[in-house]
Subunit: 504 residues, 2 copies
């Protein structure tokens, strides 16, 4: 059996772990456990699962020091960033506890039997129920919040779906430790094996999504990874949904008034946003449209100085480092000028130099609007706001689009720009930056292809919808109905005979 390798991106040191790549017989055992765990999770009910999620959050926090240390060694991300990410992971489990207690997410609806224009209508009761075991592919760039202990896992478990993680090869030990933290919490609340499970290795990932027990898959990763997983799914006799959060350029438009009024601030904000976590965030701004005027010149000067005096960034793995350097070169070949790039010592690890490129609006080719994962920002200089609509329409759709305005800006101009951004993204940001995705009820982390392949979010309370399906009961006896669908149950919001009744 192949041992799983872990690599420290700070010095490139590789070593074998005690973990092994998951073979077919182990996968079969996991699938069986997951199917049995599905019945247990469903039987646990909404409130039982809410308590389980709280217990998982506490378990993650109780192992904070070990988890963060493991992640620092496998990702090269800073202790402070990873410490905060663990807080976020715990917060996500607790938020889904709130979602479960609230109960509106099941979309309970009751239509009593009634006369209709088409004759007597039967009694119908509908709610969302768990899809069944779910495969989740961990992301390289968030070893906690988009990996084993991430939002996909939290929302799937909340929905009542056992979760089998495909560990990202960049952080197997962190993944293993996270799975142990969750499994221990599950045991604490009396749960069986299989509520959470983990597999290692590319082949295991493909076998996982082909397994009949698996009812949905979720991925945060590259378009290439999504295509490979989709190809595996296409080999099934029964298609299953793949919820994939992929590539995003996240354009930012700075209007002339904003550049003139607070160019220094924006330069600082842009710098922080494109270099945070080595620029390895799906919401990293990759393109900033800055006016070709004195305000814009000043903004770019400040930004250039900030980049020139910055240090190197350790990237997550060799593949990402190589892709970053390849892509920076490709952008330059396609006509982008290097505006700032400090000299950094790459050493033996995966350290790269942050890069600020500059191009005129007419030079904004398809090559340059590609996502570059890492600390690279392309500044696009424009002369006239009227040129922006057409230019933005050539940028691939993204998770986000941002606009920086000044107090006196023409509303019609802003509105037109925002219409273009809204048509091509899932979140429109005013006078801010796309990084730092708030975990809350109104969040949407999704967008038109290639930013995602689905009309769902992977962050926030409504991400639970991905792992649920509707089920209707017609003329059912009371004793067989889930309690949420019995007449006298009023603890959750429900739609009864077409009217929404808020829960108590």
């Amino acid at each position: 059996m192949n041992l799983v390798i872990t690599v420290d991106p700070r010095d490139g040191h590789r070593r074998a772990t005690e973990l092994t790549e998951t073979d077919d017989s182990r996968l079969e055992a996991i699938a069986g456990q997951s199917s049995r765990a599905a019945r247990w999770l469903s039987g646990l009910g909404r409130l039982g699962r809410a308590d389980m999620l709280d217990t998982i959050a506490a378990s993650l926090e109780s192992r904070r020091a070990d988890l963060v240390a493991a992640a620092v060694a496998e990702t090269g991300l800073s202790h402070a960033r990873l410490d905060q990410e663990l807080t976020r992971a715990a917060l996500q489990f607790r938020m889904f506890g709130d979602v479960l207690r609230d109960g509106a997410y099941v979309e309970a609806a009751i239509d009593h039997a009634a006369d209709t224009p088409l004759g007597r209508g039967p009694d119908l009761r509908r709610m969302l129920v768990p899809l069944g075991p779910v495969a989740v592919f961990g992301a390289s760039n968030f070893p906690f919040a988009f990996s084993v202990a991430g939002g996909d896992t939290a929302s799937a478990l909340a929905a009542g779906c056992p979760t089998v993680l495909k560990a990202h090869p960049s952080h197997p030990l962190t993944s293993h430790a996270s799975a142990e933290a969750i499994a221990s919490a599950v045991r604490e609340v009396g749960g069986p094996e299989g509520v959470i499970a983990i597999v290692y290795g590319e082949q295991a990932g493909r076998s996982l999504v082909r397994h009949p027990a698996i009812r949905a898959a979720a991925l945060t990763g590259s378009v290439g990874a999504a295509r490979a997983i989709q190809a595996a799914i296409d080999g099934r006799p029964d298609p299953i949904p793949l919820y994939a959060e992929l590539s995003s350029v996240n354009p930012i438009v700075v209007l002339p008034g904003a550049a003139a009024d607070h160019g220094d601030q924006i330069a600082e904000g842009l710098f922080a946003s494109f270099t945070a976590s080595g620029g390895q965030l799906c919401t990293k701004p990759g393109l900033a449209f800055i006016p070709s005027d004195p305000g814009g010149d000043h903004l770019v000067d400040v930004l250039r100085a900030r980049v020139a005096s910055s240090g190197g960034a350790v990237l997550l793995n060799e593949r990402i480092r190589d892709a970053y350097e390849r892509q920076a070169t490709a952008f330059e070949r396609a006509g982008a000028r290097v505006s700032a790039r400090p000299q950094v010592d790459s050493g033996a690890g995966f350290t790269v130099a942050p890069t600020l490129l500059e191009v005129g609006l007419s030079g904004l080719t398809a090559e340059i609007t590609d996502e570059c994962f890492g600390p690279l920002l392309v500044v696009v200089r424009y002369r006239d706001v009227a040129e922006l609509d057409a230019a933005l329409a050539t940028v691939p759709p993204s998770l986000t689009g941002s606009v920086h305005r000044a107090t006196g800006d023409d509303h019609d101009v802003v509105r037109r720009l925002v219409d273009v951004l809204a048509a091509r993204s899932g979140r429109v940001i005013f006078d801010g930056y796309p990084t730092g995705v708030r975990v809350s009820w109104a969040q949407h982390h999704g967008g038109p292809w290639p930013s995602t392949n689905a009309v769902h979010t992977s962050v926030g309370a409504t991400s639970i919808r991905r792992f649920l399906r509707p089920l209707a009961w017609q003329d059912a006896p009371v004793w067989i109905l889930p309690e949420e669908l019995r007449d006298e149950y009023t603890a959750i919001p429900r739609r009864v005979d077409g009217r929404l009744e808020s829960g108590m």
Copy 2:
């Protein structure tokens, strides 16, 4: 240009219409109109669209006589059935008017800026917005309610999505007249060309779903049709969702007590359900599990007599007629005995004999659990209720599963059966029949593959969700927000800072 052909299934008479198959240049013009119409529909707002849907319902009803006559001549379905179907179509448009006025469907949520464990969180506001122009493939078996004037169109227009219909080749003139009825209503409320459009021909259907302007597709049809459309979609650079409602066997289990207590009634109900509309309903029961005991024998005797004395059924087209006869033969070759089949005069049209087949539980092979479109029911005789779970697990998942009980039936037995049916269907029916799908808020018309390919419904209020996507506004100025997301707006249910507030 190829003229579109219409065929009368009652006598097989074929004639050319004045309609032509849609070529690429016409499709291009339609796509352009649809894109412009998308902006108009969105700007019309929820209440404006509700009025438009009411106007469409009235327009359909004002043309009732012509529409029904056209459909009778193209489908061979009865005047009474088609008259009721038109009522249903109008009802669907009006129901979505109610959905729009209620407004909960936009899932409005506001998180005000706040301190969080991860620092200051921005102001976030989320709601569902239209996906953009939608392609809808009309079904053969519902010339109104699942075709041009069907639920897909009603829910897409309600969502704010212009709709391009691919007319089903079995009823082009009905499709054309339906589109005219809708277009006339759209003009009445001041709408542009392109809110509703129609294309003819297989090639036009493929080109339609490949067109960049189209943002989603919906189909009620066969697995083969879905695969062909999906293959066309897979040729796009950007995937779009296909919502497909496909094949369904709709098993019915009659428990021994029910057969003994009211076998005559159930025989009558089964006969009506599997022969209604020539058995050409996606919810037609294809398999009935009847006990091998005196009660079951009596039930089957009554059913057999009912079938034997029935007349022929006109099927919708030659392809469906041929498939029906081929499949009946295949079932017999696979071991099903003919229990009853009247002699009928096929004539020059597409008339067939209703067929009752019978098989023992051990003879329930994969061939026999296939869907057969048309008036065919396979009675499966079982000796022991304990054998049913395993047998039902070999039946492909369906839109529905039904169970008939008696007053004294063991709850645990029923519960176990219902668990199996619920895992393999989207609607569980007690003491009733799957045909006659109520159009209401709590309806769910969907189920695991191959009954559908999505976790959404194609009937009922929540089917609107298929044509919407979430969009979030971060720190947006009030003047640019949709009114549903402004603080002071209270006309619809919204989630504000995590709490659901019911609308007024």
